[in-house]
Amino acid sequence: MRISPKTATLLVLAVLVALSPFFFPSNFYYRIGSLMFVNAIAVIGIVILTGYAGQISLGHAGFAGIGAYACALAPVHLGLHPGIAVFLGAAISGVLAWMVGRPILRLKGYYLGVATLGFGILVSMILTNERDLTRGPDGIDVPDLGLRALVNGLGLNLSNGQFWYFFSGICMILGAWIALNLFNSPAGRALRALHGSEVAARTVGVDVARMKLQAFVISAVYASISGSLLALQNRFVSPDIAGFMHSIEMVTMAVLGGVGSVLGAVIGAGILTLLPQVLTIFAEYEQLVLGLVMMLVMIFLREGLLPSILKRFRGRDE
């Protein structure tokens, strides 16, 4: 039987999540693993926006910040369960993305990049300066999601690290499933079409502005959920989450892995989450080595790691 690329990707991800713990040198790696998966969720959103639709955002960390602070603030001020706060954050992010994207995406060119850059900085400034609400740069505690107690009540005995590893892993696979559904769906085809040739997409009836806006909103929801999960597992959040560096990190992860590919996004997120841990041996040269790795990938594997490697294999087959 032939398995579709979608099934293959999901299988690879499931095996990755299930089997990686057998190779962990210490329990600390559950923590790194769950960080990888949470980052991967945001990066899958970037794949939809940039890889499918060809639009660039430099402010997606703003949405991660909204998702994270929703989990910190909604339980305290609105009395909502942190789990519900995740959805509230996603809804706010989606609506904001719609409002920000609507006027901009009617324009051609790289306006979205500039506008989202501004949006991200704005969110980060509000989170830093509205001390009465957010406690400013010192950050704020996030309540317990309570799901681990529930799961362990069913007879499992997961440590906090283990729980978040598997929970983030499952969320990531869900996110990948949705993104892969989109890829081969009518809407996904329209996005890829306008990426390929905007003028041709318009002449076959694609409402280009509307489709770009949908991609932007969807990817904002991904970033928001990623931010929520990060805040919930850290039990703490600071405005750094909405910072410019975090936005750049998301885009870099996507580009490194291969911006058109969901599996590539996970690999890119994995490498760039893991690398700083490994590179601590380089101490103060860490950033330097990181930058060098990125440059080498861009020079020699321009389409990103996964697509370049796959292409090389296929080339050998023929």
Partner: protein, 261 residues
């Protein structure tokens, strides 16, 4: 039969230069109208104004009785206008089949939520579009290339793919910008037949083409542009005898042929 597409005094200028000036003509259902003229005569500019890519400065485009001047291309598509491009606009990284399916966008698109969660409604829409696209690929002779990446196809095949994608809309008016350019004699003849067949099914066809033999063979009506202005129109026989046309266009070619012979 009354006209389906009516072009009334269209004009546009770029940087003070009149690219197209006061061009009018009409296209009826099932009719093939060709726009000819030397390079730079404004043929593609005219097409871009009719299909909503440029907004004309003067004049009107009337489609099926409705003024659609300067209307967005995706709204024109909804009203039954479809087109191909002189410099191919193919979705390179998609397969041939996917390219054809995008032509069914208006029929297959529905709720994006259904698409995200792979709901039965989304799958059914996609399946129907795929079946239609496969039939169209068969019609243009590309069914065996369906799964190949479009970027790897030959130029002639891409031309046919673009026509297939345009036909997927089920257009009332089809604008073809040099459909036979870069094609060999066999491919040109195939495209010839395809166009005649589409016209016979009642579609109004507007054609820009450099292959004069093809134009003379299949056109019901010819509009001649020179320096952005209409200098003649009529049936092929009338136009080919028109002295202004011979001077501006056919003359140049006749001289060239004479020199060849």
């Amino acid at each position: 039969m009354s006209e389906l597409l009516s072009i009334e005094g269209l004009g546009i200028s770029f940087g003070g230069v009149k690219a197209v000036h006061d061009v009018s003509f009409k296209v009826k259902p099932g009719e093939i109208v060709s726009v000819i003229g030397p390079n730079g005569a404004g043929k593609t500019t005219l097409f871009n104004m009719i299909s909503g890519i440029y907004r004309p400065e003067t004049g009107r485009v009337v489609l099926n009785g409705e003024d659609v001047t300067g209307m967005e291309p995706h709204l024109l598509a909804r009203r039954g206008m479809s087109r191909t491009f002189q410099n191919l606009q193919i979705f390179q990284s998609m397969t041939v089949l996917e390219n054809a399916i995008t032509g069914y966008h208006l029929q297959e698109s529905g709720s994006v939520l259904a698409d995200l969660f792979n709901l039965p409604a989304s799958r059914r829409r996609a399946r129907e579009a795929e079946a239609g696209a496969r039939r169209l690929l068969e019609r243009v002779g590309l069914e065996r290339a369906a799964e190949r990446e479009a970027g790897n196809l030959s130029y002639g095949s891409l031309k046919r793919l673009e026509i297939a994608r345009a036909l997927a809309l089920g257009p009332k008016v089809l604008l073809l910008d040099e459909p036979a350019a870069g094609c060999n004699a066999v491919e040109t003849e195939e495209i010839d037949h395809l166009i005649a067949e589409v016209a016979a099914s009642g579609v109004a066809i507007l054609l820009v083409e450099h292959d004069m033999k093809m134009v003379m063979r299949i056109s019901n009506h010819i509009v001649v542009l020179d320096h952005g202005e209409k200098i003649a129109e009529g049936d092929p026989a009338t136009v080919s005898r028109n002295p202004a046309v011979i001077a501006a266009y056919l003359g140049a070619e006749a001289e060239a042929e004479h020199a060849d012979g």
